[in-house]
């Protein structure tokens, strides 16, 4: 059960409270490692999701199959900066795990590129 103060969401606030209300005004995710292409997936936990915002819950539902951060933003229909905040909340809670793109800080290696090349030739 959450403290009443944690309940930023309020039906009376109506649909005008977009998109910053969803993130309580935060534009910087706690987890700044999230790339547009980072894969995120929901893990099954005992966590109570009842206190989460509808957007957080929508993300949990959506990520039952792995998706990129960009796909989650597109499907939930929120700006990237917002989805990153939502996802870092969920990662912190342990509801979602993330996997950064391969070789985020250096060049992709030849084995990976060969696999990509083979895959692209098949399409």
């Amino acid at each position: 059960m959450s403290e009443p103060d944690d309940r930023w969401f309020d039906e009376a606030a109506g649909p005008l409270v977009r998109p910053y209300a969803m993130t309580r005004g935060r534009t910087r995710p706690g987890n700044t490692d999230l790339d547009l292409a980072t894969q995120v997936v929901t893990v099954w936990t005992e966590n109570d999701s009842g206190s989460l915002s509808p957007e957080h819950q929508a993300v949990i539902e959506l990520c039952r199959t792995p998706l990129s951060v960009a796909e989650v933003a597109a499907y939930v229909d929120v700006p990237l900066v917002v989805v990153k905040v939502l996802l870092s909340d969920l990662i912190e809670r342990g509801d979602v795990v993330a996997r950064a793109p391969r070789m985020a800080n250096n060049l992709p290696d030849r084995n990976l590129l060969q696999a990509v090349l083979d895959g692209v030739r098949r399409i």
Binding site: T27, D35, L36, A37, T38, Q39, V41, V43, W44, P66, S68, A70, E71, A73, A74, Y75, P79, L80, V81, V83, V97, R99, P101, R102, M103, A104, N105, N106, L107, P108, D109, R110, N111, L112, L113, Q114, A115, V116, L117, D118, G119, V120, R121, I123
Partner: protein
């Protein structure tokens, strides 16, 4: 491979790794068209907020209020295999969006720079960006119906490209043509990539 033990599913779930390819070029060069022609899903769109911090100082001159604009980002996906997913990001090639390119380009395989020969100069910023950051790129010349048909050499010299940068003619509306551009980019990236650990004797 990273797997997550999931009691609910009763099995280890595999999280794929992603790789990125950028499709760059001026406005109307065919970026969205190319992303759509090779993507396995209808192209998706999301937006990034262009905030004060990421705006050029020049842009803020005379701006009293803090304004926030958004920039749309089109993307598509190609599932390579169970372990690898390729994302294609169509990125606007204006200088003011460079902050977004930095994230996009980080760890990317490389970029396809689409050139509209009616507006060659609109591809200059993209070419500059990838050259300076030493990100592998190729040039795909989109052959619009009413455009003068340049030879590959003419485009190469107009863009002052070095000899090793592949230049190919394409029609972004055609899946096969866009696929060729993608193949050419990955081959070009491979020619510059370090050997894998297991290749080093």
């Amino acid at each position: 491979m990273v797997s997550v033990e999931s009691e609910a599913q009763g099995a280890a779930m595999v999280i794929p790794t992603s790789v990125k390819v950028l499709v760059a070029g001026g406005f109307g060069a065919g970026k969205t068209t190319m992303v759509g022609s090779v993507s396995e899903i209808p192209p998706l769109s999301t937006e990034e907020l262009l905030t004060e911090a990421s705006t050029d100082v020049d842009d803020l001159v005379g701006v009293e209020e803090k304004t926030t604009t958004t920039v749309a980002l089109d993307f598509g996906r190609i599932t390579i295999n169970a372990e690898i997913v390729l994302y294609l990001f169509g990125t606007p090639g204006q200088n003011r969006f460079w902050f977004m390119w930095d994230e996009l380009a980080n760890g990317a395989i490389g970029a396809i720079v689409l050139v509209d020969t009616r507006r060659l100069d609109s591809s200059f910023p993209s070419v500059d960006f990838f050259e300076r950051r030493k990100i592998p790129f190729i040039i795909a010349v989109n052959c619009f119906d009413d455009a003068y048909r340049y030879q590959v050499d003419e485009v190469r010299s107009a863009l002052a490209l070095s000899e090793d940068i592949p230049v190919l003619m394409c029609d972004a509306r055609e899946r096969e043509s866009s696929k060729q551009a993608l193949v050419s980019l990955v081959e070009h990236a491979m020619s510059r990539a370090p050997m894998s650990v297991d290749e080093v004797v």
